[in-house]
Symmetry: D4
Subunit: 253 residues, 8 copies
């Protein structure tokens, strides 16, 4: 609650349209709905620009479904991430109108219409990294964005990337998804001037250490201005991209 | 070199204004100046939006000074980072018109005029983290930006942060600089909707492990959309912020 | 055995009520019961204030059941932790009067009556962290304590926490359970003056490293006086809280 | 600010003793004093029970001295930690009435009178760990507590510890400071029933890894209920002990 | 594309055998075939000396089979690595003429005739390391090489190695595959003068950390000139050996 | 082969009882038997005092059985370690006279008669650590030793250990097996003067990191002279104990 | 104190030669001398076979000198380890009869006469590892042992080691000191049957990580029965060797 | 010593030109020269193709100088690596004819004439990595090779690298030296078919962890066949390159 809101409540109180108890209560915080196991933040969208997303890992089917129901009942989009085969099946059964993305491990219900496209490029080093791109894409879609996807342009075959660099340059934000050593982020950051959000993936083996190698690689990129999300965090990269894109003026074509 | 440029060279060659040898040469890459020890990238600014910056660590005074000279000779801004007391003294002696920031370990010569301000907020958890904010600020200044600085608002005393949250919300990008456990990034990301770039610092001790703790903390933030730079990397955070801000329309006040 | 006890045995010996052999034996240590595979410490409760608890991992059903039997036979409460589905089933079959907490992976038999409540608050960042809260709660219950549970108040939505802070402040000890980056512990420690015991959880992924991130975060908290238990160690946090609470005078309401 | 305070301001406003502007301002947060480089939290003591302490590392002499001055001017105790030889000398010169503890790297000015003693035992495994005990002791002293110090009772010579165990048992909280493998915390926790706060130290070499070994050892103690602070964090252990002791009734001897 | 190629296209353009559009297109990069999920690099063989290999992990059966088909359709050898039982079965069903190596987890179709043998020695410390040797061998076979395999000559029984050292010395490149502490690489490197490529394996337990121990051991070898691949990376070692061997003159016996 | 052996061969050669070819061959190394997949070291017993042991992990049933057969055919004891349920079943089927220890994951065939007992004490901190003690015991048994086993004497209940310390002191070598923080090794080493071999176990969770915590703890023990084996390495500890005990004179009772 | 001692005190008490107070006191533990900063364990030698050694790091000159004085006053040998140039100078000034080993960083005063030699071999991989051998040797000397030293026999030049293997085999215990990858321990353990104590050193660079590489290497040795001490811990290796050797019968030559 | 040598000695012995003692001695190993502190391997050159190099760290001036003298006396080249300012000064004073490379920390005396050039390319990502290139170059020079050096072609400015790729392709072996994230190795390996030896450098900061980041990056390169040396190990990379080049036929220009 910010000062204008405090100001407003105080004036209503002085004018008598709010009692002392009402004013006290209004000045305390109340934007949550209690489910016992969860406190659903039904005002997050208005506060931070994104609706609350449900992290599916460690929650039971029943818990997830009840939270989805609260969001839908409040007229919001429901996005669930990190759901396995069983949870996906349970969700699609409860909400047949939803979209379950098996590779991306997401479930999406009541997304808004697409109102922005061509702003965000999802660039993927290899076919094995696609599961992260899918999570990212579902999240963007849940917020009304349609991203461009460019796959299998890893730097071991540099011409694959260079052949599409002009297309890439037409976007406002680039999400670069790469496993192994993650060098794609560095090469991209040297070729374009727009924001680059690196998402290291757990694709690799041995001393790759489940993604620590490309995470460290991207954080130490010799090309400046690469920012990085957690390993396999397609969801977080999407939200970061949206934090930026939502500040851009809507282009009218 | 992109297709329009190739196209252009080809046409000049067909029309005879370029010979075969000239065209071949023009189609090869030539935007560098060789110093023996260094290959100065004098076209990086036009290509990526930022001039080349000199990483001072591991370079001798003489090497740094010669690179600065090339950049100045090419009409560019010169920014040197990570310089110790000795290198700072040598640089200010060679280029008395420059600004040496001792705390931030930077040297800045011929910055452009300030053409953007109030877009970027530098938020610092504690006084001990200021050296990173200084590096960040010098870099922004080298690109014509004037950032707002807000210091010592760590979440151990939450009211300090809440007391300035409205001011913070008026910016387009937030750079959050914090050591210890780095929780400031999470709390900020839950309170504002604009991009948050986290910069963990090496301020701490024991199992802080020179900044790995806040780095991991920011990467695993429960507030979505936090993106992260390397430990103490004020320079990289500045460049990332600029990659964002340069896409925003200039506000005319 | 402390000096008053030695003194006492010596006097009995001098007075002849103990023979030389009896006195020697009495002065040696004998508060254990041998099961072959285990040496059950049947005097731990009187010595340290807590009965011995059975760590279920790596023990067979038969071993666990035989230790439970010894404790029950000695009139003690039996608490088993870290038991999977199979062990839980076996225990409930052998001791139908017990309580098996599947989420918390605990089994509890013959707990004492509740003699203290409202002293300990179990505060949980998210729904996914509940399994640790359950283990913690079962342990407290095994010692006669009834804790207050407050769930899903993670700092990404700060108002959820602030909305309940007055309630939290009425407790004597706070156990803060959080995964991801664990920032909840820091924010709480800045808002209350009572002891805060942090329990990092393994909820997270990527560079979370199964809980190392919130563990390090809590250990490096910028809010002073946070003490920390091992990852997912709800049991240890409960015992630590009891070590504190048992020194407090019983409030008579 | 809690509800009673909001309630109070609202009533003053309704009664006219506060104008609208004054009430709005009063309802915003103002318990800080701005120094430019630092935002001194002059209400922390009333809020969390401890005055703000100055972490000396990474701050200049001038910064530290100005913060000390603000605290003193507000009638508070000033405690500075982690100060090297140079800062200690500068502080003692500016504030000749202060106590500079060279081994503990602390500076203490205007401590309150001792109002509690014999509640906290500082138990130190070896002579090399004393620097941490000193920091801990200075912090306790800054809050009016006088701790009992027991040194060089490491478990390699178990009789040294057993010989003093009765004395140890007479305290309410035990702070156990140990380097090497930190086994002292486990042995103590098996012998006493009061709270044990473990402080691993960086005393050791090789794969000790500057204290990670005893840190991990204490966190994985087979004796339940050990809680742990960061490596070398005597200050944090003291604050944790105070969070507890301040809840205990004052004993009148 | 190198200068002679640019030169050639330019001349064709000037002479009119290429139009402006054709020349522009020819000067852009086009050596890939798009499959949607993958961009198959059908010119890698001519560019780097090895055909593209399919990393089977994280790809579906259908994706792998479609890429194999593209390679076969382009007249290339198809090698798939890191395939489990299910993928192996699916591949052998689709391409009955292929060779599925279950231990080495590889699938090989249409290898070239053997044109080089006796150049590369695959030396394996123990029977448990054979799965890496198999992957390595399949890769060499896919490139027309026949390696010599020497197994179970770990240095715990030094005479086993010394008994075969003359045979080993007759090769041009040695690939040394070892788990545990990986000391075989050091001992070999002290006994022969040809290139030694070390491949640490994940064979071991405890603080072996899945191969980090022999990886670090080989990288720190006291015998100079050992070069190292990732843990279990038999494929990479084979390619590295081929990069060497393909420069050697073909011996005509 | 040592000098006396060389001397002997040379004399036979000079006297004509060995031809030049025979002498050359005899001077080369030949104490192995080739199985294709394995080079069985049939002389290890005479060379190092212990027969070759088969590490079962990563070997197939068929490979293990064939190596066992070679050892038996050469009149040696066969010991297989790290075998799972399936391999154990296969071995007991092939060699019904063998002993399969399911908890210890070992298989033992044709052990020698017991010729030494009461020299080695196997001391185990908790019931959960017994699997390591079993592996250790099987190995000792394979070499003709009978160890004393003392279980569940962890230092959280110090009296359990002290109650048996006199019994422990009667042994020549102590193998101390402990998980969690492994403090038992330190306490033991302060109480006895004979060799202490520490075996950290993987019993624990969270930041225990599968045994790294007690491994580091034992390596950094404040009680001097503790030597350490790999995590869970009961086999290695047994061999180390044997290396020592075999030097002791046989006691004749 | 063991049962015979308890028995003895009890009888004296019954017979009146000890009063009740005296007996109580005698049954409590008193083998220490308090220095304020240190509790000197003057009975450790009789209890564990080795006199207390002073770990010099983190202690002041004055503290070290006072402990040395107590030991000397009690007729014991004084050994100080890990002393730098300054402490060495201070010690030699206070105790001119002592031996200060600058490379080994030890100080030795009043060692016993040599009563055992030729039992322990100190084998050092390279000249750079000698500082650890010196610490080890001083410790052995402080206990009356004379070790054999064999230097620079690292396995990169295997013949250097093999050339001295017969000499090595004549010892009862081998201490193997090696940095880099530490492979010497494995090769030695395959060639001799006596106990091998590995001491990894911090000699190396890069991913050697100050000795972690040879530490891990030795712990994972493929040659069984290698036991390991902490990095650079020549002192601990010596004590471990003595724990062994002191059980061996004295050889009379 | 190999079979032909054994054969030869045996024949001389049979023919009487060697006595029994002489033959025994000849069959034992003798290619070392003892200095007390060091065992100089004067036959390493003939055995492995490279003379012994002196690792200067941890050796005193006197030790280094005496080893250099032995090598020179045996007609060999002397190369010392890792020498600081003081040792460099001492060496140049003792051997004024030597070359001391201050940046590369090497000292070289009596190198052979250059007999190979243009075979090895030293490619360096940035000016800050030059110290490693210098060590590498000195080592190559000590073996008679003249490498081509190409500096400051890091992939942040891809055109710098592409502009020199034809020149690079003319070499037989490429040594790629890079800090930060080390992506240069991957990009190079995708562009050339010859061997690539990666040398990660410690140039970087924060989570670079002194070179672990590029080390891991190169080991996990998505471009196959990159082999890797230890961090900053220019010496090892040179030896590896020589192991290969020495097998190539000498080109006669």
């Amino acid at each position: 609650m910010n000062n204008p809101q405090i100001f407003d409540i105080l004036q209503q109180f002085k004018q008598g349209s709010l009692t002392l108890t009402q004013a006290t209560e209004a000045l305390s915080v109340d934007a949550v709905q209690e489910l016992g196991h969860a406190t659903v933040d039904t005002e997050r969208e208005s506060r931070t620009g994104q609706p609350e997303t449900i992290f599916g890992e460690g929650k039971t089917d029943v818990q997830i479904i009840s939270i989805v129901q609260v969001l839908i009942d409040n007229g919001q989009t429901a996005l669930v991430t990190r759901i396995d085969q069983n949870k996906g099946t349970a969700l699609i059964k409860s909400f047949p109108g939803g979209e379950w993305n098996e590779l991306g491990r997401t479930f999406l219900l009541s997304p808004p219409p697409i109102n922005r496209q061509g702003e965000i490029a999802l660039i993927c080093a290899g076919t094995s990294d696609l599961y992260v791109a899918e999570e990212c894409n579902s999240t963007l879609r849940a917020m009304g964005h349609q991203a461009t996807r460019i796959t299998d342009v890893g730097v071991a075959g540099l011409h694959r990337l260079l052949g599409r660099i002009d297309e890439i340059r037409q976007h406002k934000v680039i999400i670069c998804i790469a496993g192994m050593e993650g060098a794609l982020a560095t090469v991209l950051a040297g070729l374009v001037s727009v924001p680059i959000i690196g998402v290291p993936t757990s694709v690799g083996y041995g001393c790759h250490m489940n993604g620590l190698t490309p995470l460290l690689g991207m954080l130490n990129s010799c090309a400046p201005g690469v920012v990085v999300c957690n390993i396999d965090n397609g969801y977080g990269a999407a939200i970061a991209a949206l934090r930026f894109c939502n500040l851009l003026p809507l282009e009218t074509t």
